[in-house]
């Protein structure tokens, strides 16, 4: 993954990052090689490092739980985790002490209630303090689009009049939401800074033996997350000889993906359309586990640390 291809080295365009420094797309991203098909443990080992900004996406559907558990198992620390809906997967990473900062737009257990590990971190700094960068769904989606497009920001009609508009402008954190005036009409709109994660992690239904990835059903913001990120890990239900067309499918060509790992059931208790259904019992049961620090610690030992990568 160190070789920079002709195409990539020809890309002289530089993008102004949210932080202010310039970074060329060619330097930032290896769009050069085919995906490597490896084990889940190896993919996480090689792609995700302490201190990285990691986006594990999947909008209710195709949430990469097995990969998240492997990050906990490998005891990564000081991660900035990015996700529109933190869901149980980030509740678990936060409770396990892997996370320093959360960039998100809705942190609940859908249809059930609170994410108690997330709340414990925000309300009581347990197990470690949690820094927040908070947006709306529309804002987060557009930040990924900007990242995938190689632009420093995206424009939307949003946030006006809300408390979120000024929230991230406080001392100590760089603003990620700012007003912008349309150069054509003069309309006041909102700019949100691009997301450029170090690593995107997603789960998909299938990949072929060359590492081309195919996902369908609710496809969320996964394509944008992968294209916005410097590296990516994709777990799949199965690796097949060839990808037959599916209605509404997103295909990520092999050269846009870093690592593919075959992990059947890797999105449980979320689901993979055509392979599994959402385990709503598990989502309901999480409320009692997540609510209690001791119950959570026991869950972590039994269901993550004592289990080999990719199994449950």
């Amino acid at each position: 993954m160190t070789q920079v291809s002709c195409i990539a080295s020809d890309m002289r365009t530089s993008v102004l990052m949210a932080t202010g420094q310039e970074l060329s797309l060619a330097e930032a991203t290896d769009w050069s090689e085919m995906a490597e098909i490896v084990s889940l443990a190896e993919a996480v080992e090689r792609a995700i490092h302490d201190g990285d900004a990691v986006a594990m996406e999947g909008f209710t559907h195709l949430i990469p739980f097995a990969a998240g558990h492997e990050v906990i198992r490998q005891r990564r620390r000081d991660l900035t985790v990015i996700r529109m809906t933190p869901d149980l997967i980030y509740d678990q990473l936060i409770g396990a002490g892997c996370v320093r900062k959360l960039i998100f737009s809705w942190g609940g257990n859908p249809g059930v209630g609170s994410l108690h590990r997330f709340r414990d971190a925000v309300e009581n700094s347990w197990p470690v303090p949690l820094e927040l960068e908070e947006h709306s769904h529309a804002g987060m989606a557009n930040r990924y689009v900007a990242g995938a497009s190689g632009l420093p920001f995206a424009v939307l009609r949003g946030y006006n009049g809300t408390g979120l508009e000024t929230l991230n402008s406080g001392p100590g954190s760089a603003p990620t939401i700012k007003p912008i005036t349309c150069p054509f009409t003069g309309e006041r709109l909102t700019a949100v800074s691009a997301l450029r994660p170090d690593v995107a992690v997603i789960h998909a239904q299938r990949a072929d033996r060359s590492g081309n990835v195919q996902l369908w059903g609710i496809t969320g913001v996964q394509k944008e997350a992968v294209l916005a990120s410097q590296r990516s890990v994709v777990t799949v239900e199965e690796i097949v000889d060839s990808l037959d067309p599916r209605p509404g499918a997103v295909v990520l060509p092999s050269w846009t993906v870093s690592y593919v790992a075959e992990v059947p059931g890797g999105s449980h208790p979320s689901y993979a359309l055509g392979y599994s259904v959402r385990d709503n019992d598990d989502y309901v049961a999480w409320d009692a586990i997540g609510r209690d620090r001791a119950a959570f610690a026991q869950w972590l030992d039994t269901h993550v640390h004592a289990v080999p990568a990719g199994q449950r």
Binding site: W106, E123, E224
Partner: protein, 269 residues
């Protein structure tokens, strides 16, 4: 919690008795007209929107933020992304697309939202309660799709249980804008939709006063008094001269609602 218990016991006792949550859901469902396009929040709004589609509004177009347009679930989904939404939808689009192409331009008639806190101008808080933002007493889930739903749908209906904790003079945090601080605020903020038309609660219905934009009690359920509604409101609630008495749920409405209610701890079929 008590209302859930009440609902369960009501189901066991008789078909004609109903819980306050069922009355609220039926009332919210009636506010949707056939053929409307409706951006649906999860929980109470989703139950009401699905009830409307199962009864008087079979042509109601349900849109969930997961990108499912025209979903027709046979059972209530637990999340906004359950598989039955994708499997029954007219179209499934990406999350950037649902917000940018469908919600933002004002294509959607009504946004159907819940709230943890709501104030007299219909501003919604789903972010944090008590303390300050960095050290809140209770951290709530946050914004999700609500700020832009509240801004860009042609109109908004809020479904929320009424109590002095949830109905406050000013919300602790403005997650989604209703009428801001009063007349002229939506225009000042450039919000394209008309704003919240109704707040539907477990006691009755509130509508914005056309002059002050302050929410006023205009409807009550059978057996609920205006003073009871006033007691469960954290501001000095104005009452319409003659609040409408809203009809109790019909047997058809109740049976439709109960037929697709998910037992709390059972998975999708």
């Amino acid at each position: 919690m008590s209302s859930r218990t009440c609902q369960e016991s009501a189901q066991e006792v008789s078909d004609v008795s109903y819980s306050s949550d069922e009355m609220m859901t039926v009332s919210a469902a009636r506010s949707l007209r056939d053929g409307m396009t409706c951006f649906v929040g999860i929980g109470l709004p989703s139950a009401a929107a699905n009830l409307a589609r199962a009864t008087h509004a079979p042509g109601l177009v349900l849109i969930y933020e997961s990108g499912t347009i025209g979903a027709k679930p046979a059972q209530l989904p637990l999340s906004i992304g359950d598989s039955m939404l994708a499997e029954t939808a007219d179209a499934v689009v990406s999350v950037p697309e649902i917000f940018n192409y469908w919600l933002q331009p004002g294509r959607i008639d009504v946004g159907f939202l819940g709230a943890a806190q709501i104030d007299k101008f219909g501003n919604i808080n789903t972010t944090a309660i008590g303390g300050d933002y960095l050290n809140p007493k209770v951290r709530l889930p946050g914004a999700g799709g609500a700020p832009e739903i509240a801004a860009s749908c042609r109109e908004v209906i809020v479904v929320v249980r009424q109590s002095t904790r949830s109905f406050v003079d000013r919300v602790d945090f403005v997650t989604s804008v209703g009428y801001g601080s009063g007349p002229g605020d939506r225009e000042r903020h450039g919000l394209t939709g008309a704003g919240p038309r109704k707040i539907i609660t477990d006691l009755g219905v509130l509508e914005a006063d056309p002059r002050t934009l302050e929410f006023t009690l205009t409807g009550l359920y059978p057996g609920i008094s205006a003073s009871a509604a006033k007691e469960r409101t954290g501001w000095d609630l104005a009452i319409a001269t003659e609040p409408e008495i809203i009809a109790a749920p019909t047997p058809a409405e109740l049976s439709a609602l109960r037929s697709f209610q998910r037992p709390r701890a059972r998975s999708n079929p």
